[in-house]
Symmetry: C2
Subunit: 232 residues, 2 copies
DNA sequence: ACCTGAACACCGTTCAAGT
DNA sequence: ACCTGAACACCGTTCAAGT
């Protein structure tokens, strides 16, 4: 029972992460735990266990669970792709942003809730805001118009992401007692077009609508005579 | 210490709710607790205490906390106003729906998260779906188009509601370390138009855009010659 | 039928202690 | 500096018991 010379190390880590604990290792394990077991499935104790460490060790790297989840958010945001200015016209850059934002929800349905629900004003978030506002500026909008469209784009992006989650995953907290469609003829008729398989198409349709509208607003702003939608 | 004749009842209820526990009383107390202390602030034990009852008594009315929260969702949904068919043209009915859906977020910012995050297929929800799809049908859309626009409206409604929450309430889990605006000139310029005070105006602007687009789609669907937007 | 009380298996977090 | 172990004040839920 004493110290055996060649004793196996008592810590086992499920990931290929070894050596001293790092913020990086903690965050990626946390994210994969959330992906696997949901937000409620993540506890400091289980996260510690997955890293081969006591729960309290985590507090040496993050002051609280809330702060840790904030860092997970930042990590999610880093997945959004923001193609550089020169590469694409401004409205196409916006399209890329909205698409890849929604992809976060597709890839991390449980974790995406964090982005939707928690307010965030971090450097990573501000970089995204700046990117979007910059594209709007290049499209010819002033600060007021940009702010409005910024919000509109945000609504669409987070609404689309949430719909992605809500429609794919069944609710673990509640058994699905599906109401009979007899009483809801319109819902019955639309049901087959509302299935998860159609989501991508619906999303792209909505995105086109959104961008068309922004294009239209740009034309109005410039005056109808020298409208140049081709450059957007 | 025995039974005194005129002993005050040992239960005290914070609400004006008396008599035997009812689903109604539990739900309204639960909602006001969530409004006051947030979703995480609601526990079965505290809810019981607020009702002057042991936590376990609640399980006689709801099988689990999840089921209780589901019933709270239903209650929130009941707040949405759906003016009857004859009273307003279809697109104006949609406007009412989206507006009042967002008002749930304004009135119950903490509880609204439930609606946004959890999937729900209950009778109350289906009634709302049917209402929206019916308005779209009256506006002349077939099942495919209706399904698309239904989703689009849903994105906008829940995105707008969430933005309402995120921008009003500071995050309790995370101290706000606001990044310096020096590095973000566009954000700095738009900041004053993105304040909470402007939210109503931005929302109405976006809603107009959404409905304009739906009107346009309706015209395209009917063929350009007999377009009658006045009736929408 | 409706509620209680004790118990079980969990939480996040604090704090003193180890190396 | 980095981690442990025990402890505190909570959770949701089960189960047997009370009336």
């Amino acid at each position: 029972m004493g110290s055996t010379p060649d004793a196996l190390p008592s810590r086992r880590r499920t990931d290929a992460v070894r050596g001293p604990l790092s913020r990086e290792a903690i965050l990626s394990t946390a994210l994969s735990q959330i992906d696997a077991n949901g937000l409620d499935g993540l506890s400091m104790r289980k996260l510690g266990a997955a890293l081969g460490v006591e729960a309290m060790a985590l507090y040496h790297h993050f002051p609280s669970k809330g702060e840790l989840l904030g860092a997970v958010m930042e990590r999610l945001l880093a997945e959004v792709s923001l193609p550089p200015r020169g590469l694409l016209p401004p409205l196409e850059r916006l399209r890329c942003f909205v698409r890849s934002y929604r992809q976060i929800a597709v890839r991390h349905p449980h974790a995406f809730v964090l982005l939707a629900v928690r307010r965030f004003s971090t450097v990573a978030a501000f970089e995204v805001y700046e990117y979007v506002l910059d594209a709007l500026a290049e499209a010819g909008f002033d600060a007021v118009q940009s702010a409005r469209l910024f919000r509109l784009i945000g609504y669409y992006a987070s609404g689309a992401g949430l719909a992605e989650i809500a429609n794919r995953a069944p609710d673990p907290h509640r058994p699905d007692t599906f109401p009979s469609l007899q009483r809801f003829p319109r819902v019955a008729a639309a049901a087959r077009y509302l299935r998860a398989g159609n989501q991508d198409a619906v999303f792209e349709f909505g995105l086109d609508v959104l961008l068309d509208e922004i294009r239209r607003q740009a034309r109005v702003g410039k005056g109808a005579r020298n409208a140049g939608p081709a450059e957007l």
